[in-house]
């Protein structure tokens, strides 16, 4: 009986909260927020907050065409794998008061798991057989190479700061350290790293100006060109989830992660309330990070050429992260 309850609980956390459903909903909401605020920054009214959700449901209702030159299995499986891996990854982040599986993967694993959706996108695009997609996957891969260096430097800086002379890739420990010493963002040696991370997020998510891979004006949305219907919807969902995931990761690494713990009134009520409050606070933080690193940057810049993008990440952003790492290494 207990086992069944436990299994049900796990299933709940995998599929609903904080798993797939929750992540999707929040991701779509974040994406909608991004679009809305972007529009307001451009003095437009902008789409409704639920626009990404509408887009997603609309795509579910469309036909799915598989081009004759495509490899059907890979073409259709790629978006599903991407979404599933993202949904599962959420469970490894200790960003909620309730983080069932955060002990089961550390930073390096997160780094690699993050590549799976990108690889899924690349494989799907490649499998579609379109030459536009060929260009798109090339760019996607270069973008990945570009942001991976700053990302690992940021991770190492965080690990060194929180772990001292011990190996510390565990997210739980990073969160615990921050609970004790205050969020990492407020340690001045980590500020460059946080900035670098803020630059990594839009590249990882693929928003302008770092969206060379999916430039719809030049290469017809690159890897996505042949996708239609539900698979396309899943890719759009992936982007939305990634948005949430990356901002949440930022919150975990630099803003202390698990929010607050409040106990009010009866225990059960307090638990429920604190869960709700945690979620709300996290959401607010994610919104702020999204605003800062994606919307604002998007509003004031134009798309970078791929070679410039690569250079930017390996010089400016990696430089920022490296400064942090060296400062931390020097014990600051």
């Amino acid at each position: 009986m207990e086992l069944i309850l436990k299994a049900l609980g796990t299933l709940f956390s995998v599929l609903i909260y904080p798993g797939f459903l929750f992540v999707s909903a929040v991701g779509l909401l974040l994406a909608g927020f991004d679009r809305k605020v972007l529009a307001r920054m451009q003095k437009r009214v902008g789409p409704p907050l639920l626009q990404p959700a509408y887009d997603f449901f609309k795509l579910l209702g469309k036909e799915t065409l598989v081009p004759s030159r495509a490899n059907k299995a890979v073409f259709l499986a790629a978006p599903v794998i991407g979404t599933a891996s993202l949904a599962v990854m959420m469970l490894f982040l200790p960003i909620f008061g309730r983080a069932p599986l955060s002990l089961r993967a550390d930073l390096i694993v997160i780094l690699y798991l993050l590549t799976i959706p990108a690889v899924a996108l690349i494989l799907g695009g490649s499998a579609s057989g379109s030459p536009f997609a060929g260009i798109g996957i090339s760019r996607e891969m270069v973008v990945m190479m570009a942001y991976e260096l700053p990302l690992i430097l940021v991770f190492l800086a965080v690990a060194r700061k929180t772990g001292g002379s011990e190996l510390c890739f565990s997210l739980e420990r990073i969160v615990a350290w921050q609970a004790e010493h205050g969020p990492l963002l407020f340690h001045w040696a980590m500020i460059p790293a946080a900035l670098a991370m803020l630059f990594v997020i839009p590249a990882e998510v693929g928003t302008q100006p770092f969206d060379a891979a999916e430039a719809e004006t030049e290469i017809c949305e690159g890897p996505l060109i042949e996708y239609s219907g539900a698979p396309l919807g899943l890719f759009k969902l992936n982007t939305a989830i990634k948005m949430f995931l990356m901002t949440a990761l930022f919150c975990t690494l630099f803003l202390g992660g698990s929010g607050v713990t409040v106990t009010l009134g009866p225990i059960w009520l307090g638990a429920a309330l604190s869960a709700l409050l945690n979620t709300l606070i996290l959401l607010a933080l994610c919104l702020a990070v999204t605003l800062l690193c994606m919307t604002l940057v998007h509003a004031v810049t134009a798309r970078l050429k791929i070679e410039h993008l690569f250079r930017f990440y390996w010089t400016v952003v990696a430089g920022l992260a490296l400064i942090s790492l060296i400062l931390v290494w020097l014990g600051l």
Binding site: D55, F57, G61, K62, E216, I225, L232
Partner: protein
């Protein structure tokens, strides 16, 4: 209920694919003007898509020149259903001043059913938005019709 949600979403998030079949560029510019802050068609979920596979509304401008005819047909074939075709300006419907030219193969109606015609040369962005809005509603009806067909088929 889920069906209704999908059909509803369809009318709220129509993505455009724009085909210029020899247009003078007037309509094309006005279509882009719809996305500017002044008109902001994104309020209704309109978005320019890069590929016909993503399109819900295909906007055709220009009088279908013989160079563009095959390309138009091929592109229209690749749009997943349900989708709407909107003719922008006078050219696709009639050829406008180009009608009768050796190189004009219009009107568009010869090749595909046009759901909404927006007249004008060029239409004002307001008129384009109005036309697209109407097309979005038609899209929803088409989706419901497809559902109905399926239900009857079962």
């Amino acid at each position: 209920m889920f069906n209704k949600l999908i059909a509803d979403s369809l009318s709220r998030s129509p993505w455009l694919y724009h085909i210029n079949t020899g247009s003078c560029n007037g309509c094309d510019i006005e279509l882009v003007a719809c996305l500017t802050p002044r008109y902001d068609a994104e309020r209704f979920g309109f978005k320019l898509a890069g590929s016909p596979r993503h399109a819900d509304i295909v906007v055709v401008s220009g009088p279908i020149t013989s160079q563009s005819k095959d390309r138009l047909i091929r592109t229209l074939e690749q749009v997943p259903r349900p989708f709407c075709v909107v003719s922008l300006g006078s050219c696709p419907r009639s050829g406008n001043v180009f009608k009768g030219s050796y190189s004009v193969e219009g009107p568009l109606e010869k090749y595909i059913h046009v759901d909404v015609s927006v007249a004008g040369c060029t239409p004002k962005p307001e008129a384009i938005i109005e036309g697209l809005y109407q097309a979005a509603r038609i899209l929803k009806e088409k989706r419901l019709a497809i559902q109905q067909e399926r239900k009857e088929a079962d």
